[in-house]
Structure formats: C-alpha cells, structure tokens
C-alpha cells in the first residue's frame, strides 16, 4: 500500500520509471531483435494515438483516417531520399511539416463549422492521398512503390537506432500533449468538446483552435512516418495509406482512455501487443479485421471511457475525498470586489476614445425564422455605465436579440455597434475579445471540467501568446481563485462543474464571464431559479461591478429586482421595443401593461398582477 501511495503522491514517478526502463532495454539486450521490433511498433502506434488524442480526445472531433500522416511522412522521406539522396532520419522534421500542411489545408475547409463533416473528410483525405500516390507516377513511382537505401549500421543491432528514435518521438509527443493540455489552448479544446457554442461566447476562436489542434495532432506522426519509411525500406501506396492503420490508432486511444494523457500510450501497448499475439497464435492476417472490428464494438459498448479512467475511478473510490458544501455564508458576506486588471493588458491601438458613443447600439435589427419574425426592426441603446434592463413577455424575442448581439445567430438586417465598432458581421469570439460577455438562461458550464478550468477557459483576446499561456498556474489562475472567492465558490475550484447545483453554476458562470474583463455583460435571467437571499447578493455584485465601469444588459422576469436595479428599462414586445425610460415611467406606461397582461387587464381581468407590476 505504501508503494502505491508513494506513486500517488508523485505523479511523475511512474512515467519516468517507464521511460527509463524502455530506454535501458536495448542497452541491456541489444540483440533481442524480435521483442525490440514488437516494442518499436507499439511506440509508433503510441505516437499516432497520442497525436489523434489531441484532435479527437481533447477537442472531440473524431478522425478515422489518422494513419494518413504517417503515410505522408513516409512518402516525404522516401521521395527525398530517392530523388536527392537525403537521409530519411534528417528528413523526419520535413515529414512532420508536410503532415501539418496537409492537416491545415483539410482542416481549414471542414473545421470552420460545427458538425460531422470532419470525420468524413478524414477518411476522404486518406483515400484521396492514396489515389494521388498511386497515380502521380513521376513523383511517387505509382503502385510499384519506392525502395529506400538500407541503413548504414550493422545488421546485428539494426533495430536499436529505430527503437531509440521511436521512443524519443513517443516521449516528446506525450510531453507535447501534456504541455497543450496545460495551456489555454488545451483548455479551450476541451471546452469545444463540451459545448462549442458556449466556448465561442467566451472568446475561444473555435475555428483556429480546431485547425491548430488538427495540425498539432499531425506533426509527430508525420515525423515518425519518415523514420518508419527508413525502417521498412519499402513503401507502396496501399501499405502507406491503410485504413486498418487508422483503426488501430482509434482502438488504441479508446482502449486506453481518450482525452487522457497516458491513455493512448497504454492503449497502444495493449492493442499492438495483442495484435502481434493474434497474428502469431491466432488466425493470422485474415482474421485481423474481424478481431479489430469486434474489439472496437466491445470497447465502445462496454468500456467507452477506456482503461485509465476506469482505474482512476476505482482508485478514487478506494481513497475518497471529503465532500464540501456551498459556502453560502461566504457568498453572502464577501465584501465588495475590486476588479483587478489582467496581468498582461492587451496593447490598445491608439485612437480617439469615443466617450460620446453609447456602449451598445442596435439599429433596425431583424431576424426571421421562416415566416416568424422574432426580432422586427429593433432599436436598442445601452448607455455607457448603465445597468439596462430588457423586459417583455415570453416569446417577445429577448433571447433572440441576445443571440444576435453576441453573434450566436446572424441578423437578417440591421446593424449592431459595440463601443463604436460595428460587430454584426464578426464571429462570437471576436465580439468577446472586444469586451462583450454573456451568461445563459440555463447555465452552460463545461460539465466535465473542474470549476477552476472553467474559469481559465475564457480567452480575453485573440493573440497566440494568450493561447499558449499556462492556464493552471500563474497569475491568471490566481485571479480565477479570487473571483471564485468573491462569488463564494472558492472551495469548489477542483470540483467538476457538472457536480454543482443550479444556483452554484449560476455564480460560477458569472465569475467566468468576468475573467475576460468585459465592458458589457449580457445577463439572461440571472435570478431565475436562485433563492431570494442570493438574488439580493447577485444584485449587489452587479451594482459593485457597475460602479467600477462594467455595463450590464439584463433580461429578467423578476420585475421587483429589475425596477430596483436597472435604469433605463427597455420593454420588448413582438420583436421590437415598445417603451423605454427610467423604471418609474415605464411601470406606469399603459402600453407596457397591455403588452404584459393583454388589452383588457384594466377591466379587472387580473388586477393582482397589475398590482405586482405597480
């Protein structure tokens, strides 16, 4: 037991021992050619599975043609070595680059949108590359294939250099994957997997993140491909661009645990070695497909999370952590929060600061769903430094207007200006970078991420430096903890967000939006489903932040809260504004009462409601 806890306390110990053991093996037994070959093929599979895991595990976009990158790397090395005599080992980085270029080109076409075209294009990419390799005789020698020169070293140790090269690439690939997972980039990828629309609303440039992830997933397989070509010394299109290779990658990552760091490596060893055993003791190559297919079905149905997460869950059950409850007292009693600027403020382009323009200006915006006009030529202004309310009956188009302003949907007509900049054609994340934040009517936190990870996922700007910055340590994480403390959720930093109650999620979502330092926050029913003392606390938080310069646009059905908190109040009905002004004026406006209660409310139809409204 003490051995186990020694490993549990030092999570780096096991990987280091593992790497050292594998590195020492060929030193101790240099002439074990067969076991070395089995192991180095497992390393090759692990390199591919670790790469696959970046796009398909972290970001959740499944690639079924990932073996194309090893093939491209192999062909790059093969062609260069035959045409210009370049040593394949030296060509390895070029193999990686060719793979990255192919991934970027394919990704730029299919990853701009959400959905399932990606999986199809990955198969298409594999088969199309095979077609090119077969038919571009002049370059690839067609179906006849390419024969590479033999390695110069002694045949007795022929596999040791390959063994070492693949081992180094595998460990480098894992380190790369670990680094990605620690950065904002990696957090953003998981955010995309969990809820792509929400990720875009907190400033994550989903298109760029996905394309970069696909490119990152291709690099190490491409390099390994070049080494593999040298190892094989013969390449042909059917062998290099083989669907079965892709199946093994998927199987390895799934068996080990997709989305985890070491899962793909563990899975690669399991799959590679059992495939070898099956070939030796089973029916040979004929039954391979059947075996892999059956294994894939069984794993998806009965072990969808993979081995590593199952073992981790078992470990946690054996060593339970005490459960903590909401620090509601803390939430209610925490003092006034001082907004702290980000550590690295974004360089502001010099230009006249326009204090005279309103913070948000919506002009003549229209949105139709088929025949239904949800937002009809709406005009709305949020004055600088205000807490503006947007109220109106259900179905009057308030949430649709929110979506148009934040970019979740695109307006059919009209224009939206934020802080003087026209934003209605910008993607949601760019609006976020300008300082527009929102919360959702039903909270949309990333459920499998911890609360702290949720807090560091937002991208306050679109710079690459911000993307590759460490998300777990440093001052950003410190700021995240402060904000969590401010909303009374600090003790839940390491809890998965999906385990929180609805009210707790609302608090975290508000804190999350504040991480991007918004100038304007759109709150969609902040008080819905929250207990009354917390509503008062929320109002106080909004007022505090507003005093420090943050503007608010609030959709809310809790009329007393609105009338007390907001000024001005804008009333929406049937897709356009019917009244606006200070709360006192609006609440007595007969047009508003008509809209809420129907035309004959004054005939005594529902005096009680009218009383509440007054």
């Amino acid at each position: 037991m003490s051995v186990f806890s020694a490993f549990a306390r030092r999570p780096w110990l096991l990987p280091v021992l593992f790497g050292a053991g594998l590195a020492l093996y060929p030193v101790i037994r240099p002439y074990d050619i067969y076991p070395q070959t089995v192991l180095l093929l497992a390393f090759l599979l692990a390199i591919q599975a670790v790469g696959w895991n970046i796009i398909s595990g972290y970001a959740g976009y499944v690639s079924l043609g990932h073996s194309v990158f090893v093939g491209l790397g192999s062909y790059t090395a093969g062609v260069l070595s035959v045409r210009i005599g370049l040593n394949p080992l030296l060509a390895a980085p070029l193999g990686g680059i060719v793979a990255v270029v192919a991934a970027v080109l394919a990704g730029a076409v299919v990853l701009r949108t959400r959905g399932h075209a990606f999986v199809i294009i990955t198969i298409a990419l594999l088969l199309a590359t095979q077609v090119i390799a077969v038919n571009w005789d002049a370059l690839t020698n067609g179906s006849d294939g390419i024969t590479l020169p033999l390695p110069p070293w002694s045949r007795d140790i022929q596999n040791v250099p390959f063994y070492v090269a693949f081992l180094v690439l595998m460990l480098a690939g894992v380190a790369f994957s670990a680094w990605i997972r620690r950065t904002r980039f990696g957090t953003g990828l998981v955010a995309i997997r969990e809820d792509e629309g929400k990720a875009a609303s907190i400033g994550v440039d989903t298109t760029r993140f996905k394309i970069t992830a696909y490119a990152a997933s291709a690099f190490f397989p491409g390099m390994a491909g070049a080494v593999y070509a040298y190892f094989l010394t013969f390449l042909n299109p059917v062998g290099a661009f083989n669907v079965l290779g892709s199946v093994m990658i998927v199987l390895a990552a799934l068996v080990g645990g997709r989305g985890t760091l070491w899962g793909p490596v563990i899975g690669a060893f399991v799959v590679s070695i059992s495939a070898e055993l099956a070939t030796v003791y089973g029916g040979g190559a004929q039954s391979r497909v059947l075996l892999f297919g059956g294994a894939l079905v069984v794993v998806v149905l009965f072990l969808p999370a993979g081995l590593l997460p199952v073992v981790q869950a078992w470990w946690r059950r054996r060593h339970p952590v005490a459960i903590e409850y909401t620090d509601q007292g803390g939430a209610l009693s925490a003092g006034r929060y001082e907004l702290r600027p980000r550590v690295e403020p974004v360089p502001v382009e010099p230009g006249p600061v326009q204090h005279d323009v309103p913070l948000l200006e919506v002009r003549g915006v229209t949105k139709r769903f088929g025949g239904l006009v949800a937002v009809d030529n709406a005009d709305l202004t949020v004055p600088r430094g205000s807490i503006t309310a947007l109220i109106g009956p259900n179905g009057s188009g308030k949430t649709t207007l929110f979506n148009l302003v934040t970019g979740t949907m695109r307006a059919d007509a009209g224009e939206v200006r934020f802080d003087g900049t026209r934003i209605d054609r910008l993607p949601p994340w760019q609006r976020g970078h300008l300082g527009l934040g929102r919360t959702f009517q039903l909270t949309r936190l990333f459920r499998s991420m911890t609360v702290l990870e949720n807090m560091v996922a937002p991208m306050p700007d679109g710079r690459w430096r911000t993307m590759v910055a460490d998300a777990r340590d440093g001052r950003e994480a410190e700021r995240a903890r402060e904000l969590l403390a401010f909303v009374g959720m600090a003790r839940f930093a390491d809890t998965p967000a999906g385990a929180l109650s609805y009210g707790q999620q609302k608090l975290v979502e508000l804190a999350q939006v504040l991480m991007t330092e918004p100038k304007l926050v759109l709150l969609d029913e902040p008080a819905g489903g929250v207990n009354p003392s917390l509503v008062a606390r929320l109002s106080q938080i909004v007022r505090d932040l507003n005093a420090q310069g943050v503007g608010f646009l609030v959709v809310e059905h809790n009329i007393p809260m609105v009338l007390e908190l907001c000024d001005p109040v804008v009333v929406f009905s049937r897709g356009s504004v019917i009244a606006h002004g200070p709360p006192d004026i609006v609440r007595n406006d007969p047009v508003v009462l008509d809209a809420y209660l129907g035309e004959d409310w004054s005939d005594g139809a529902s005096p009680a409601v009218a009383e509440v409204l007054k």
Partner: protein, 293 residues
C-alpha cells in the same frame, strides 16, 4: 458532342443509383444523429449475397433485391434493438466509432467466409447496351436507375403519406417535440434505422451488377456516400439526391475527359469547393443553438 451528352446521361443514371444508396444513410443521420459508417459494408455484404444467389440459382441479381430488402430491414431492426440502442444519448462520435467497428466486423466475416477476392454478378445483359440516338446506354445502368427511381418514389410515399413516415420526419425535426406528442422515440429510431438499412438491400443488389467488388471495397463506397450527404447537407433527402447527381456527373465527366483514376479525387475537390462556400452543405441547415429551453 455525343460524347458529352452520353457522359451527362450516364452521369444521371449513375447518380440515381448513388442517390438510392445515400438515401438510407442520410435518413439514419437525420432521425438518429448516427453517422452509419457501416452503410458501405452492408452494401458489399448484400452484393456478395446477391452474387452467391445468382451464381447458385441464376436468379437475376437486381430481382434479388426483393429478397434482400426484407432481410436487411430485419437485420437493421435487430441491430438497432441489440446494439445501437445501447449508445442512445451519447455523442455522435461514439456512434461513428461503433458503426465503424460494425463495418470492420462485416468486412472480416466476408473475408473469412468468402475470401478476399474480386467478384461481379454477370447476367447476360451485363455488357449489353440500349442504343438511343447514337448513344450507348449500358443496360445494367438503365435497370439500376429505374430500380432506384421506383425505390426512392416508394420511400417518398412512405415518408410523406403514412403515419410512420410522419413520425419519422417529426422525430428528425424535433426529437423532444415528437416524444411529447406521443411518438415513441425508441421505436421510431429503430424503424428509421431498419428502413435505412433496407435500402442497402436494393442498393447492394444493383451494385453487384454495376461494379466489381471485394470485402474491402466498402471503404470506397462509404467515403463516396458520406461525401454525397456532406455535399448535399447531412440529414437532407433532397440534398442526398443533388449530391448523388453531382457525384455521378463528376465521375462520368472525369472518366470521359481526364481518366477514370482521377474521378474520386475530382469528387473530393468538388466537396471541398462546396464546403468552402457553404460549410453546412447545399441543403444543410446550421445546427440550432440551444440557448433557451
């Protein structure tokens, strides 16, 4: 000129057959949000069974569809009830992986039982042509096209004129809404899956005459069919028709003017071009953002 017209007509004939094969795939995606990667494998399986029937009994391969269709309907139903229903509610990518596994199992079984060899059903009309206005139209393509038109017409009638069809369309448009008005999501999904798989009964029979095939051919077929529905817009039946015609025309025109080996590549280039302009495909709609309840 005749060459061009012949290529165009042939393209439409081939496109009709593709439309038949892709219709089931897009139906399954539309209703269940399952990308059935095993669709190509089922086509090849049916083609193999048809070939076997034809070589044993001399039964016309296209007529064999009358036997294969109910068989595949039953297989689809059983497969949904026993396997696919287990992953209901999990992400689309899980369904991709699961059906990919099923495709490999089918390929493996075909490999082990029938051997990894090329086959093609060759009834006496397989190399004959109708000659109309100087154009030679291969009989298998004409028969295949006519079969496809009949089956697609039937599918249209089932989907628009029967309660079952309305339930399927309702479920494909609004899952929760359909469930709320008393459409059982589970049995509708099973039915839609079974109908979708049943179309491979016809498609595979036609395939056995039109194209030589072997167990691993299903990769080519699934990537073509998925390409068609991506091009047309996933889940859209009219989209599948248009996508299939585009593929058919791209293939025959490339084969006529550039060489057969480039036809797949040309089709992928067309897909990429369309996706650049319309990322959601020709008839596709962007996924709705579930911001409100």
């Amino acid at each position: 000129m005749t060459q061009l017209v012949q290529a165009l007509v042939l393209g439409v004939l081939v496109g009709g057959v593709y439309a038949l094969m892709a219709s089931g795939l897009t139906l399954i995606f539309g209703v269940m949000h399952v990308v059935n990667v095993a669709h190509g494998a089922f086509l090849i399986m049916v083609a193999t069974l048809t070939w076997w029937l034809w070589s044993r009994t001399g039964l016309d391969p296209i007529l064999a569809a009358l036997i294969m269709t109910p068989l595949m309907f039953g297989l689809g139903w059983v497969l949904h009830r026993t396997v696919l229903s287990r992953i209901r509610g999990s992400s689309v990518s899980m369904s991709v992986l699961l059906t990919f596994g099923i495709a490999l199992v089918v390929e493996g079984v075909l490999n082990v039982t029938g051997g990894n060899v090329f086959r093609s059903a060759t009834p006496e009309y397989f190399d004959e042509s109708f000659v109309i206005a100087g154009m030679a139209l291969p009989k298998p393509h004409v028969f295949g096209f006519l079969t496809a038109v009949v089956v697609l017409g039937l599918l249209h009638v089932v989907l628009t004129r029967t309660w079952t069809g309305r339930a399927i369309r309702a479920t494909s448009q609004n899952h929760t809404g359909a469930a709320l008005v008393g459409v059982s999501a589970a049995s509708t999904a099973a039915l839609a899956f079974a109908i979708g798989i049943a179309t491979t009964g016809v498609g595979g029979s036609v395939l056995s005459v039109l194209y030589p095939f072997f167990p691993a051919s299903h990769y080519d077929w699934i990537s073509r069919l998925l390409g068609i529905i991506v091009l047309g817009g996933m889940g859209s039946l009219p989209g599948a028709l248009v996508g299939a015609l585009v593929l058919g025309l791209a293939e025959t025109l490339t084969a006529t003017y550039l060489g057969l080996q480039w036809s797949t590549l040309v089709f992928y280039v067309v897909i990429m071009g369309v996706l650049l302009v319309r990322p959601q495909g020709i008839f596709g709609t962007r996924l709705r953002e579930d911001v409100a309840t």
